[in-house]
Amino acid sequence: MTPTSSPRPLRIDRTRAIDAEAWIMRFFLTLGALWLLVGVVLPLIPMVGRSFRDNSGAWVGLANYWQYLTTPSLVQSFINSLTVALTTTLLACGLGFIYAYALTRTAMPGKQVFRTLGLLSLYIPPLAVAIGLIFLFGNQGLMTTGLFGSLPGWNINLYGFNGIVIGEFLYCFPQAVIILMTALNLTDARLYEAAEVLGASTVKTFFTVTLPSVKYGLVSAIFVCFILAFTDFGVPKVVGGNFNVLATDIYKQVIGQQNFAMGATISVFLLLPSVLAFGIDRIVQRRQTALVSAKSVPLQPKPNPALDRAMFAFCALVAGFAIAVFATIILASLVRVWPYDLSLSLKNYDFGGVGGGGYRAYWNSIRMSLYTAIFGTVIVFIGAYLVEKGRGLAWLRSAKYVLSTIPLALPGLVLGLSYVFFFNNPIWRIPFTGMAIYNPFKGLYGTMALLVIVNIIHFYTVCFLTATTALKQIDPEFEAVSASMAVPFYKTFWRVTVPLSLPAILEIGIYFFVNAMVTISAIIFLYPANLPLAAVAIVNMDDAGDISAAAAMSTLIVATSLGVRLLYSWLTRGMRARSEAWLSR
C-alpha cells in the first residue's frame, strides 16, 4: 500500500430519491402476502363453511358432522385411514432408519448405488406404484400367478389394506430415508470416541448416543410419513378395492354423488389430523438446538464384516423390491396383451382406443409442470428473499413466514376442493355480515392458470424452506454493503443473490416440475374437460380397465421426471465448471 499518489476524490450525488427503494420492497412484500392470502387462507374459509351447510346452501350447523359420525361406513373409513397411516409410518420409518443407518454408519459396499436406488421411488408417482403392484400382486400378477404358472403362485390379497400399505410404504420410504440420512450424517465422531473410551457397549452407545442425536430427525420422519400416508389418494384409488379411506370417500362424495357438503365435512376430518401432526412437529423442532458445532469431527464408519454383510443383504432386499415394481411397470407397458400375449410391442403407447386424453394429456401435463416450475420458482424465491433479507414491516414478514409453511399441512384433495368452492363461486358471501361481493377470480376457474396456482401452493412449503436455507447461507452484510454504495437492493438481488443461490433455485424448479408431473390429488377436482392431464389419465384408464395403457402413461411420467433430473445434473455440471473460480472455496 505505498502508491506514489492518492486518487482524486470522486463527486457522488447521493441525494437522488433512493427512498423509492423502500416503497418497492413494501409493494412486493404486500403483493406476496396477498398471494398467500388468496392462495392459502381464503379458499379454506368457504370449504370449512360448506361443512356447516347442506347441499342447497342452508345453514345446518353440525348436522353434517352428526351424520358423518353416525354413519358406520364413514367412521370405518376414518379408522381405516388411521390404521393405514400408522402401519405405513411404522414400516417406512423403521425400515427407512435401518436403510439410512446402513448408508451413513456402516462400511457396507455399494453405498452410492443403494443411495440412488433407495430414492428411486421419489420419481415414481404413488399412482404408478399402485399400477406396478397390480402387475406384480394383482389377480393376473407375476407373483400371484407364479410367473404365469411356471412357479407356485403367491396371492397376498392385494386389493384392500395390504395393497394400500405396500403402495404407501414405497411412497413414504424415500422421504423417510432422506430425513433420517440427514439426521444421521449430522453427528460428532468425538462422542463415539468418548463412549468407546468410557467402555460403553455397542448397544448402550446406540441408545445413549445415536438415538438421542437423531431424535428430531426421527420425529420429523414419523410426522411426514403419517401425513403422506393419511392423505394420499392415488394408491387407495387404484388398489383400495372395497377398503375405503377418507381420501377415496371425498372423491366418491364429490365426483360420484355430487354431495359437496359431505365432501367438505370429510375434508375437515382429513385436514385436522394433518394440521395436528404438522403443529406438533413444528413445536418439537423448535426445541432443537445445534448438536453439531463447527468443531465437530465427521464420523468415519469402521468395517464390521458381520454387520456390513447383514446390512448389504437388507438394502439389496429393499432396493430390489423398489426396482421390481419399477421394472414391472415398464415391462407391463411393453407387453402386447398381459397375461395372454407376452410378445413385446409399443401398442400400449398408442393410447388410441383408450380414454384419458392420450398424448394430449401428456403434453398438457408437461406444459402445466413447466409453468409451475417457472412461475413457482420465481414466486417462492422472491417471497423467501423478502422474508429473509427484507427490511421493515417485520410483522408482515413473520406473518408471511408462517403462511408459507402452512401448505405442507394441507392435503392435496382438501386444497383442490377448497379451490372449487372459492374460485367457482360467482359471488362471495362474507360470513356473519350478510354482504356479498362479486368474485374477481371467477375467470380463473377451469383454466390452466388455476391448475398452475394450485400446484405452486400445494408444493410451496418445501420449496420455500429450501430457498430460505440457501439465503441464510449468504453473508447478511451484502445488503448493507450495497446500501453503503447507494446500490438499490434489487440490483444486488439480481447481480449477487440470484447467482449465488442458483443451485437452490434450480433444485426448487426441479421439485416443482417433478411433483406437478405426478400429482393427482390437488388437480382431480379442478381440471377442466378440455385440459386432460397425464396423472388423471392413469386414474381414468385404470377405472376403464385399460391398465396396460395406464402402465405406459406411468412409464412416460417416470421417464420424464428422471430425464429432467438427469438434465439438471448435466446442466449443473456445466455451470459448476464455468463458475469454478468462485465456487472452489
Binding site: E21, A480, A483, S484, M485, A486
Partner: protein, 399 residues
C-alpha cells in the same frame, strides 16, 4: 497534559509517612478531546456528531447517553469488550440500525432518519462481505457502475484504487483466489470507491492471522492519514486501537467510559475498568491516609495525583512496566521490598509475580527487560527492592 518531575522527597525510610511533594497541576479533560497534537481541532466544526443517542432492544439497553464528536480527518476507535455496544453504535452511524433516541449529524446535516443508501459512508465488515461471484475489479466497480459513470472513468478509478491498496494486477481474481489480507484490501478499496466522507471499519482485522494483522493495521492507518478521510473503527483489540487511532472511545455496558488519545488513556485511565482493559494493571487495596498518601497494609505510599477524601478505601493502580527495580536510591520515595513468587520468561523480558513485604502481603506483577533480568540474575532471585514511582500511581476510590 504533562507531569512535572517528582520533586525531591526527604529520606524518611520506607515505611514511614512520606511528605508529599507539590502535586503537579492537572489539565482537566472535557469530553476527552482534544488530546495533545489535536489542539488545532478545537477550532474546527466536528464532521460527525452523535448527540444523546440511546438504543434499546426490548428490555435491553444497548446504548445510553452517547455523545461523541469526530473531527474532520480524525481516526477514532470504538473500543470495548463484546456486548459493550460499540458495533451497535457503528451501525447507528451507518443507518443500518435506528437509534431509539438521539441524533446523528454528519457534515452539518441531520442524517438521523435517513436510510443507509442516502448517507455518505463506506464500510468494511469483519467478513469483508465481498461478492464471491464478482472479481476484485467488479467488486470495486460495483457502486461506480450504479452511478452511471462512463466505462473508461470507472476503469481508471478501479485501477487507481487497486494501486492505492497495493493490489496492482490482481483485479481479475475472484475473492476465493485471494488471501485474507488481499480480500481485506479489496474490501477497503470498494469502501473508498465512491470517495465517501466517512469510512467505517467494523473489526476489519480480526479475521486475519497475527502477522498480517500487525502489518495491515499500519498500512490502513497510513492510508487513512494520507487520504485524510474521517474514520470510525470498531475493535475489541486494545493493541490495535492504541496503534491506529487518533482518539480512542472506550465503551462498557452501553456507556462511554473514557475518550482520549491513546497515550492519555493508557497513562491516565479514568476508571479501574479502563485501566484494566487497556494494557495490564496492578491493583493494590489501600486506604487514603492523608491528602497525598495512601496506606497499603503497613506500607505508606506517596501518591500525588490523588483527589480522594481521607479515610476512603481505594484501589492503588500501577502498570507492571512502570516500576523500577535497579538504581533505586535508598531515600527514593515508595521504595518497597518484595518476595519473588514465580517468574515467567516472555522472550523479550521477564514477568515476575511478587508479594509485597509487610503485613498486607499483596500480590503485584512486574515486567522487566531481558537485559535488566540478566543483571538481577532473575532465575535465582528470591527477594528484591522495587520502586513504585509516585507519578506512575493512580488511585481509584472503591465503590
Amino acid at each position: 497534559m504533562t507531569f512535572s518531575e517528582p520533586s525531591a522527597v526527604p529520606n524518611l525510610g520506607e515505611t514511614t509517612p512520606l511528605v508529599p511533594p507539590i502535586a503537579p497541576a492537572r489539565e482537566v479533560e472535557v469530553d476527552g478531546h482534544p488530546g495533545p497534537g489535536l489542539g488545532h481541532r478545537t477550532l474546527t466544526e466536528p464532521y460527525l456528531r452523535i448527540e444523546n443517542v440511546h438504543k434499546i432492544f426490548g428490555s435491553f439497553v444497548a446504548l445510553k447517553d452517547i455523545y461523541l464528536n469526530v473531527y474532520p480527518g480524525e481516526f477514532v476507535c470504538l473500543l470495548g469488550p463484546s456486548g459493550c455496544g460499540k458495533t451497535t453504535l457503528l451501525r447507528i452511524i451507518s443507518g443500518l440500525e435506528q437509534q431509539t433516541q438521539g441524533r446523528v449529524i454528519q457534515g452539518g446535516k441531520d442524517v438521523s432518519k435517513l436510510p443507509p443508501s442516502m448517507r455518505d459512508f463506506g464500510i468494511v465488515f469483519q467478513s469483508y462481505a465481498l461478492f464471491p461471484n464478482l472479481t476484485a475489479t467488479q467488486n470495486i466497480a460495483y457502486g461506480l457502475e450504479n452511478q452511471k459513470l462512463p466505462k473508461g472513468q470507472i476503469a481508471t478509478r478501479v485501477k487507481e484504487l487497486l494501486d492505492l491498496v497495493g493490489l496492482e494486477g490482481m483485479g481479475h481474481k475472484y475473492p476465493s483466489q485471494l488471501s485474507g489480507g488481499q480480500q481485506q484490501r479489496v474490501a477497503l478499496a470498494r469502501a473508498l470507491a465512491l470517495s465517501p466522507g466517512l469510512l467505517l471499519l467494523d473489526e476489519p482485522l480480526s479475521a486475519l492471522d497475527a502477522q498480517v494483522r500487525v502489518r495491515l493495521r499500519a498500512e490502513i492507518a497510513e492510508l487513512q492519514r494520507r487520504l485524510g478521510i474521517t474514520t470510525v473503527m470498531v475493535t475489541h483489540d486494545q493493541a490495535e486501537a492504541l496503534a491506529m487511532a487518533d482518539r480512542i472511545v472506550v465503551m462498557d455496558k452501553g456507556y462511554i467510559a473514557q475518550v482520549g488519545t491513546p497515550s492519555s488513556i493508557y497513562q491516565h485511565p479514568s476508571s479501574p475498568f479502563v485501566a484494566n482493559f487497556i494494557g495490564v494493571m496492578n491493583f493494590l487495596d489501600g486506604v487514603v491516609e492523608a491528602a497525598d498518601t495512601v496506606r497499603c497494609g503497613n506500607i505508606l505510599l506517596h501518591a500525588p495525583s490523588n483527589e480522594v477524601p481521607v479515610g476512603q478505601a481505594v484501589s492503588i493502580a500501577i502498570r507492571p512496566e512502570d516500576m523500577r527495580v535497579a538504581d533505586i536510591a535508598t531515600d527514593a520515595p515508595n521504595r518497597v521490598e518484595a518476595d519473588v513468587v514465580s517468574r515467567e520468561f516472555l522472550g523479550a523480558g521477564y514477568r515476575l509475580d511478587l508479594t509485597l513485604s509487610g503485613n498486607a502481603r499483596q500480590p503485584i506483577t512486574l515486567e522487566i527487560s531481558a537485559n535488566r533480568a540478566r543483571n538481577l540474575n532473575v532465575e535465582a532471585l528470591e527477594a528484591l527492592s522495587i520502586q513504585l514511582p509516585p507519578e506512575m500511581i493512580r488511585v481509584f476510590p472503591k465503590e
